[in-house]
Subunit: 234 residues, 2 copies
DNA sequence: AAAAATAATTAGTTATACCTAATTTTATAA
DNA sequence: TTATAAAATTAGGTATAACTAATTATTTTT
């Protein structure tokens, strides 16, 4: 009898250990917001990153709270529970590992991989991430230069200094791109800029803060401020 | 005006070129039934393979018919349209290629891969199958010995002759397993039998049609009729 | 401090894909 | 041929996860 009660009270939280596709996408969006800024995470902000409706977000926040993946109140915004953080990091880990796979093993270009990895990241096998990690040789950064969470959840140091901050005359290497939209990535491809490319900053135009840069010691180009802000140096 | 009408009438069938997860699972189930026997494919049979309800199947058959993936009437059962067949074969192709990947590249055992491949097979990028195929060296058979459809939709010859048909005293090689359940695959693992293993049939027991076999020229074992029926020889 | 704007929330609706139960149709056996 | 069983189908319902529109809270501006 007592045992039955025990079972009864243990049911709820442990039963729902797996997350739905939709839940995973919310976790990912919330995680991405925690990385992007220090501000509190609001339903509206989540709706924006997910391209959906705040009302839908509210619904889901209730669900994620019930599953003890997040805590939410209007004052503090959304915050992860330890379990929620762990789950989110695993999704990001899988996403970025699959991106490496798609580029290194299947020969996709870096502007094609995001959407594919969005599908692959949800594959639920428990040892998948670790096996993939090993197979790929434990890469630290994905093809956009984003740090890949380790098996223990730790993230390698992300690149944070943008091309706008490089002193005139200095040379640097591209560590990551901030914007990962196809249009930006394809433009970079056209300019011959990729992760590891060498960029020498020749001149800064005061008028609009555009930069004249030399790419891989070869051709020079003028690039906009927006462009420079989205190049992070190694 | 006429043009607007043209657009209007063209909408429906072409709009819905991508299939949902659920639709893909039905296509796969129907395909698997076409491979297994010559009988007409009934809603009940589909419900059985999918482990769901015949009423649900009827619903989906209507949807797949609307999308021009199948044709269905009670007399003839379910049959693919060319488009439906093409889509199904692509799913099977992806499933089996991913299975090869999971075993060859990630080191999974053959009893672990089915469910993972069920998730991977739905990844929708148009060049995924072909890139994966190339990366894996264009394998002809998956880790269970099932033929992998080629890019043009053609299937390599499947293995059809079971161990029950091997003459006493003869030696054969395992080409495929019919049953791919974990319990069977794990038992085979325990016996040291895999694809390519050598089996010599030493004796047939009249009473229950069990076989005494020698595995890889080493140890001998007695196996049931059900067991032998599920080993297909190369 | 009141008005206006923005954000959060609720209420009610929709589509998908499943379900059960009841009914109709078809096939099989008496 | 009729009774019975099995299969197909319909009707109606559920959960998920989205939506719109309306309402309530909270900020911001005046």
């Amino acid at each position: 009898m007592l045992f039955a009660l025990f079972i009864y009270f243990c049911r709820q939280p442990y039963l729902s250990s797996m997350n739905t596709l939709s839940e995973e996408n919310y976790l990912k969006a919330i995680f991405s917001l925690t990385q992007k800024s220090e501000e509190k995470i609001s339903p509206t902000a989540i709706a924006e990153t997910m391209g959906n409706n705040a009302a839908s977000v509210i619904d889901m926040l209730r669900k994620l709270t019930d599953k003890q993946l997040i805590e939410y109140d209007k004052k503090q915004g959304v915050r992860f529970t330890p379990k929620g953080l762990k789950d989110s990091i695993l999704i990001v880990r899988k996403h970025r590992l699959w991106e490496v796979f798609l580029v290194e093993k299947l020969g996709f270009h870096w502007d094609e991989i995001h959407d594919i990895a969005e599908e692959l990241e949800h594959v639920s096998n428990i040892s998948m991430a670790d096996r993939l990690d090993k197979f790929l040789g434990f890469p630290e950064y994905d093809p956009h230069g984003d740090p890949i969470p380790k098996a223990n959840g730790k993230l390698p140091k992300p690149f944070t200094i943008s091309l706008t901050e490089v002193t005139i005359g200095n040379t640097c290497k591209v560590g990551a791109v901030k914007d990962t939209s196809s249009s930006f990535l394809q433009y970079l491809l056209k300019l011959g800029i990729g992760i590891g490319s060498t960029i020498k900053v020749l001149e800064r135009i005061d008028f609009d803060k555009s930069l004249v840069i030399q790419i891989n010691g070869q051709h020079t180009n003028t690039v906009s401020q927006l462009f420079s802000e989205n190049i992070l140096i190694a």
